[in-house]
Amino acid sequence: MRQRVLILGGGSGGTILANSLDPRRFDVTVLSESDQHLFQPGLLYAAFQGSRARLVRDERRLLARHVHFVVDTATVVDLEQQWVETAGGERMRYDALVVGTGIRTDPGQIPGLAEIGARVGDYHSSVARARTLWEHLDGFRGGTIALGQATAICKCPPSPIEGILLADELLRRRGLREQSRLVFFTPYPRPYPAEPMNRIVEPILEARGIEVHTFFDLDRIDPEGATLTSIEGETIDCDLPIVVPPFVGAPITYVPGDTLDENGFVRTDQRTLRVLGSDTAFAIGDATSLPTSKSGVGAHLEAKVVARTLSGHQANFGGRTHCPLDLAGGRATFVAGSYDAPVVPAPPSRLKHLMKMAFARLYWLSLRGVLDPAFDVYFRLTEPPVTAPGAG
């Protein structure tokens, strides 16, 4: 009999996994809240360059024909009895479960942020919000822009730095940089969270005259005057606040109750990707508690590990990350590391920027798995060298 695999979430990880499973051996169902698939990295360019590229596709068309696709919201997951309940009142049974429900923005954690987000937009929530932010940047005629992440958890960790550098580039191109102050705030001790990458990033911020406020744990925003206040009482006044909101996991009740950690992420074994305490459930992508960057590349690689495990092979996740970092001006670098190889800075180049842009076109194909052989070679060639553990 074919094994019933239920995948929660039709995002990057869930879609790749569903398309990777052999239909002769698996009866695959993807249960997803939305029938649309958003290419999230594109939000950066919609917000900071006014890009009108199409970022959303029909999820059904991205899934192989044999995959059952159900549009509904998972509300309860019982890992002991092996069923999932949905908002639509269905109870779905499975032999193997894979949670790939991602993370979502949660502005309500910061007083004033919901109002700010509704007014000026942001670039981590939706296409509509990213377009709103572009309207504000496009209409900006000088003053102070303050940009940063609200908490230490950020989907795509390079994205705050990318945002401030693209804002700087926009203002320079428009001849508005002289009459503008750019402020970057972060809860970390340095502008780029991973110290080795910071060696590349900090001098660039300095050269572009961007003011940096470290250890800034955003506590509240006065939406009227746009004053940002940290837990420590430091304040930043600005005309345009661009805040990466806090993130939370999907609002799903799990049995047993300790499946989620204190951040609302699924407790996941770092190597096997099994949900801790379960033999039949796995988690991939942003939804997990893994100590890696929340990125599409991670979700992709983790989906492949779970596909191999389900197919009866020995497979482990090595913690590999490989996030592009757009440094503006047509240059980019990559943040690459793994559990055993701390991040190594790669010199910025135009070629890396071209690769980042090319990937935007290849994304939809990558979901289908047709680029897997090329990706395998690429990741092998760019494998960061293993050094002493924790040398970052």
């Binding site: 809860p187 110290e195 744990d217 924790g390």
Partner: protein, 81 residues
Amino acid sequence: MSTPAVQHTLVDSRGSSCPGPITDLSMAYRRSKVGDVIELWATDPGVTSDARAWSDRTGNPILSLEESDGKIVVVIEIQRR
């Protein structure tokens, strides 16, 4: 109204490389209240200087910082929030 009891929170960031431990510390700090104690376990050597700088800047003192067999334990009292 009774004041909620002081909490001793253990944050286990062992095996997580930079910036994992400081991410975990920052998130625990957000959930803490004055009087709480956060005990951070880490294996990344970078945590020592990061935790000291964090303590200086946020005004929350380090009660102890010890290292043995590659395990670093930082105990911080939350005095300012």
